[in-house]
């Protein structure tokens, strides 16, 4: 379980996250939503120890993040950043193998178990057939699946995704949401920054709504996602109706 305790993060003089207390639930999909610049990506990076806290701390299983060794932490949680850098010429297989970094020996040699996990991850994300192809030669959707396979190969209890759907067309977005649900079904805790509010409502169990570095509301989408909230947080006039398929709330702006 992961939580923050009076977490404050600033870049120079600019405070991005201010005195935040938040507990994220185990085994659920939590979506972080909020307008641009509200600090949701910064929070995600702080949870992954990429951003250092100026004050307060992040706790993982009631231990401060700082008490974990680098590899040890990477065996507990993984993060897929929003901007992905694909090294020139790298194959899908190789990329997914990088997911085993926290486990392998000093010389970067993969054991049999690592290899099995790598091929299982590629199967699950349906990229096995591209394993020898260069990642850069794939389509956007395939490429994103290859990166997800890397995260799966890392085999962590907590998986964090920063706007994983940004550059995908709709069908691939839905595909990715389903992959997220599959992760949850295997007992993983998923924390995801999402841009699309309706997708957040439909696919997450728990919403965390942020504005200007603070959490404005959190809870199940049904409780939290209201017309008032959209007005307050997003300055958006919208009608909230039931999703005709999943029965979750969805908004239609006007």
């Amino acid at each position: 379980m992961i939580s923050t305790e009076n977490l404050t993060i600033a870049y120079g003089d600019k405070v991005i996250i201010n005195d935040l207390n938040l507990t994220l639930q185990k085994g659920k999909i939590t979506a972080l939503i909020g307008p641009n610049g509200c600090g949701k990506s910064t929070l995600l990076k702080a949870l992954a120890r990429i951003n250092k806290a100026n004050a307060g701390q992040v706790l993982l299983n009631n231990q401060p993040l700082s008490s974990y060794a680098d590899k040890q932490l990477a065996q507990q949680m993984s993060l897929l950043p929003q901007i992905l850098i694909t090294p020139e010429g790298i194959t899908v297989q190789r990329l997914v193998e990088y997911g085993r970094s926290p486990y392998i020996s000093h010389w970067g040699k993969l054991g049999d178990q690592d290899k099995n996990i790598v091929s299982a991850a590629m199967q699950e994300t349906q990229v096995s057939e591209f394993s020898t192809q260069a990642v850069e030669s794939l389509s956007g959707g395939q490429r994103q699946r290859a990166w997800i396979a890397m995260i799966l190969a890392q085999d962590t209890d907590i998986i964090m995704l920063d706007e994983p759907t940004t550059y995908l067309d709709l069908s691939h977005q839905i595909e990715l949401m389903k992959l997220m649900q599959a992760m949850k079904d295997k007992g993983k805790t998923v924390i995801v920054v999402l841009h699309d509010l309706n997708q957040a409502c439909r696919y997450s169990d728990h919403l965390v709504v942020m504005k200007e570095g603070a959490v404005i509301a959190e809870g199940e989408p049904e409780e939290v996602f209201t017309e008032q909230l959209l007005r307050d947080v997003f300055s958006l006039e919208a009608k909230v109706i039931k999703d005709p398929i999943a029965n979750t709330p969805m908004c239609v702006a006007y």
Binding site: I50, A74, P87, Y98, G108
Partner: protein, 327 residues
């Protein structure tokens, strides 16, 4: 599509070339010695004992070791800074080591080898610290970092010139050494460079996988359990040690640290598992060719090997700069 067999083939060809030129180098020089005499001298004793065993043979080992050190240093710097224009000489590390060592030689011409080594190393470290500090403050583009490096390098070199001008008597030793020459070296320097390589090459292989993962960006590397700042520091420190010791042994030999890793990348792709050994091999190959030519072009006159490497390296660097259009 690269198959698994290609790298081993390339490695075989490369190693054979290194061996070939190392042997050729034994036959080239101011004195004309027949093949039979050379073989005789190598395995027994002969009248040419001094020239072969005390002069040409150590030079071969030095050229291979220093070239390998420079190539490896360049591969590590390029790998960690993610900048194709980076290399120990272009970033002022070689000049820093050179300035420190010249200062020592000017004031203490009979300095023992280990002292020269330590002095060069501190010079290299200081120069690296300066450029890293500037890079950290200004976050330059690859192109700008190269320019900053060249500026610092030139500044340090002018310091060397200054020392030479105000101390014209002591200039001789320093001068020959500085142009990057293997002239007048003997067995005393051989264990220095090879000992360093023996320690550092395994460590470089340890870095290989981590440097590859760094290619995914700092955020990704962190989340995969690799701390970028720590890795960068370790790799750079290794590169500075290699470059400084190379300078202490053979003076400033330009462009091998830039050229060898580039060629290695073209032949072997981007995996450091291959880049590290191939950059070292290519560096060794380049310097042994340069040194053989330096001795063989116009005997008994001898050119410094560093002049020859610059002849090839400088145009290539200009070519690289051309490819970087974004200023």
């Amino acid at each position: 599509m690269k198959t698994m067999k290609l790298p081993s083939l390339y490695f075989f060809i490369l190693s054979s070339l290194v061996l070939l030129f190392a042997i050729t180098s034994l036959f080239v020089g101011a004195s004309d010695i027949s093949i039979a005499d050379i073989i005789h001298t190598l395995f027994e004793q002969g009248e040419y004992d001094f020239i072969i065993n005390q002069y040409r043979l150590p030079r071969i080992f030095l050229a291979l070791g220093v070239g390998a050190g420079l190539g490896l240093s360049g591969a590590l710097i390029q790998g960690v800074i993610r900048n194709p224009l980076a290399s120990p000489d272009l970033m002022g590390i070689s000049a820093g080591a050179g300035l420190a060592a010249t200062t020592l030689l000017v004031f203490y011409a009979a300095a023992p080898v280990y002292l020269l080594l330590l002095t060069a190393l501190s010079g290299g470290l200081i120069a690296a610290a300066i450029i890293l500090f500037i890079a950290y403050k200004t976050r330059p583009t690859p192109m700008r970092l190269a320019l900053i490096g060249i500026a610092i390098s030139t500044f340090l070199s002018s310091g060397i010139d200054f020392l030479m001008i105000v101390n014209p008597i002591e200039i001789n030793t320093a001068m020959v050494w500085l142009t990057g020459s293997l002239w007048g070296r003997n067995w005393t320097q051989v264990p220095l460079i090879w000992g360093t390589l023996a320690v550092i090459i395994p460590f470089a292989f340890w870095l290989a996988w981590r440097l590859d993962v760094m290619g995914l960006g700092e955020d990704c590397a962190t989340s995969l359990g690799i701390r970028p700042s720590k890795l960068q520091l370790m790799a750079l420190l290794t590169a500075v040690i290699l470059a400084s010791i190379s300078v202490a042994v053979a003076g400033t030999i330009a462009f091998i640290g830039l050229l060898a890793p580039h060629l290695a990348r073209m032949l072997f792709g981007h995996h450091h598992k291959y880049l590290i050994p191939s950059s070292a091999l290519l560096g060794g190959l380049m310097l042994i060719i340069a040194d053989t030519l330096a001795r063989g072009l116009q005997p008994p006159l001898e050119l410094p090997a560093g002049v020859l490497t610059s002849l090839i390296g400088a145009p290539y660097f200009i070519f690289l700069l051309q490819r970087y259009k974004a200023w």
